[in-house]
Amino acid sequence: MKLKHVTAEAKLLLIGIPVLLWTMLPIYHLFLFSISPKESAFAGKLWPDHPTLHNFEVVFREQHYYLNHFWLQLWNSLLIAVSVGALTLLVATGAAFAISRLRVKGGRLVMNLALLTYFIPAAFLAVPMYKTMGNYGLLNNQWALILAMITIASPYSIWVLKQASDKLPYELDEAARIDGASPLQLFRLVYVPLMMPSLVAIGTYALLLAWNEYLYAFLLLSNEKQITLGVALGNFLAADDSPWELLMTVGLIYALPPAAIYYAFKRYMVGGLTAGAVKS
């Protein structure tokens, strides 16, 4: 019995260890470069002889040609991500409330169109979106990226919020109405408080989507004072002698906030985003 238990444990470890290595190796490599002097990083060592925070110092002081606007670009990423999170939440909550609770005419059609949009592969929509933003005169304007990301984040957000709204008992609306509540009061005093967990999940989803986006950001913005940190990272590759240790340091800094936000809101994220995954 004891032996059987040990073999079962060993089998699990035989899966667990490769999974750990597979998952963490690229991320560890990022970290390794950020604490390595250039020569050591390029020597293929698994741990530097003299770990250093020098790379971070160079990045924070913007002491390299590619880093001239590091802080500004970090700020751009933050500003765009927060705007997309807030505005998507506004657009999607309004639509989900109107479709699910107010039963607005044509709501079902709008829901289906949103779902259809959700199934357009992102890189395919990017081509006409780029041309359209040009027609609207928005290229190289951060609003172009914000609006594009709202367009991409909204369909799924509306869908998730509508699913959650449909589960609230309709009697609540009726009781509020009998008490003479207006639609806005119903929205503010009943709907939003009850929907809070889903709203947190969707706000976080849209914020992370915008922070992590590369393709749209790289197409729609090109001025180095407008671009996000992600696009700036891509620009590092333009040179033959890219300062990879600095690139990886910036990359690590860029990857930390979404990881932290994910862990902080994990409770809401996993529940909210895999909601509905399970149905017979």
């Binding site: 699990l12 667990g16 998952t23 190796l25 690229p26 991320i27 490599h29 990022l30 390029f42 657009v91 309004g94 639509a95 409330f97 479709i99 107010l102 039963r103 607005v104 005419k105 709501g107 779902l115 259809l116 959700y118 199934f119 592969p121 992102a122 890189a123 395919f124 929509l125 081509v127 006409p128 979106m129 041309k131 027609n135 609006l147 709202i150 799924y156 699913q163 449909d166 589960k167 009697e171 639609p183 929205f187 992370l208 922070w211 992590n212 590369y214 393709l215 891509g234 990886m248 990359g251 860029y254 994910y262 862990y263 985003l273 895999t274 909601a275 509905g276 995954a277 399970v278 149905k279």
Partner: protein
């Protein structure tokens, strides 16, 4: 980052006041839904219409088909979807079984396992790109230390480079699909497995007769959705190989953007239109599953 939505049971519609509703409620409904409708018209409908209009000349398609990169991209895309996605989903199905085991260390591992999906693509893919560098990369350096031989020139051989792009894609999106399939497994009542154990069923029999029948639909839906999204996966190829060497590892997503950057929008749109016969049946399937 990508997310999924799969169907759930539609709650029974409350009977009653739909007809008698005051028109102020309808008015507010229209006001609240208007922002999204506006977003849809201005940033989805108009761009698509405009894009299709740009791709209206048959001449564009002739030039597209004559471009050898296009043919290669179509083949690469099919390999990416058919081989890549199926490998990924089988691994996800297997790992979902691993992660539902109740062990303290598996709980911790599952927290780390999600990282590739939660963090942005660009730093991690560039990190992998350097790991694969034939001279300075950590992988060939380890190969050399262990075997004394030089490792392959990973990104300079189109076949290996495409395989690596698929590997990057799997690395990035495996956690998400594993999470979905874990949710599927957790929904199966534990009594089924207990009863099967009492009857002396083997692990394989439990999978074959309990797990698989209840996960089949979820697995199929996930595979299709993953295929649709992977068609739009620009990062895995562009950031790793840039379409190279010699433009041999492009997929339709990167090819469209390549034409766009070369200011050949009609070709970019034509390439996307050529992908529609592949996309539309998949989307039709998903719409039927989701919009009830």
């Amino acid at each position: 980052m990508s997310t999924i939505a799969l169907p759930r049971v539609e709650p029974a519609l409350p009977a009653g006041p739909a007809k008698k509703r005051l028109s102020t409620w309808q008015t507010w409904g229209l006001i609240l839904i208007a922002p999204y409708v506006l977003v849809f018209l201005v940033f989805v409908l108009y761009p698509i219409g405009y894009g299709l209009w740009l791709a209206r000349h048959p001449d564009s398609y002739v030039r597209l088909v004559e471009d050898p990169i296009f043919t290669r991209s179509v083949i690469n895309t099919l390999v990416f979807l058919i081989v890549g996605i199926n490998i990924k989903m089988v691994i996800a199905l297997f790992l979902s079984g691993f992660f539902v085991q109740a062990r303290w260390w598996i709980k911790w591992l599952s927290l780390l396992f999600i990282l590739p999906w939660a963090v942005p693509s660009i730093p991690t893919i560039l990190s992998i790109r350097f790991m694969l560098n034939p001279e300075w990369g950590i992988i060939n350096s380890v190969i050399f230390r262990v075997t004394g031989l030089d490792g392959p020139n990973w990104l300079n051989d189109p076949t290996i480079a495409l395989a690596m792009a698929i590997t990057v894609h799997i690395w990035k999106s495996l956690p998400f699909w594993t999470l979905i399939l874990i949710a599927g497994r957790l929904a199966i009542p534990a009594e089924h497995y207990e009863a099967a154990s009492v009857d002396g069923a083997s692990t394989w029999q439990k999978f074959r007769f309990i797990t698989w029948p209840s996960m089949r639909t979820l697995y199929l839906t996930s595979t299709i959705l993953s295929m649709i999204w992977t068609l739009g996966d620009f990062n895995s190829v562009y950031l790793l190989t840039g379409g190279g060497p010699a433009d041999l590892t492009h997929v339709l997503a990167t090819l469209g953007i390549r034409y766009l950057r070369l200011d050949q929008v009609d070709l970019a749109m034509a390439a996307i239109v050529c992908a529609l016969p592949l996309v539309l049946p998949l989307v039709y399937f998903m719409m039927k599953r989701l919009s009830k």
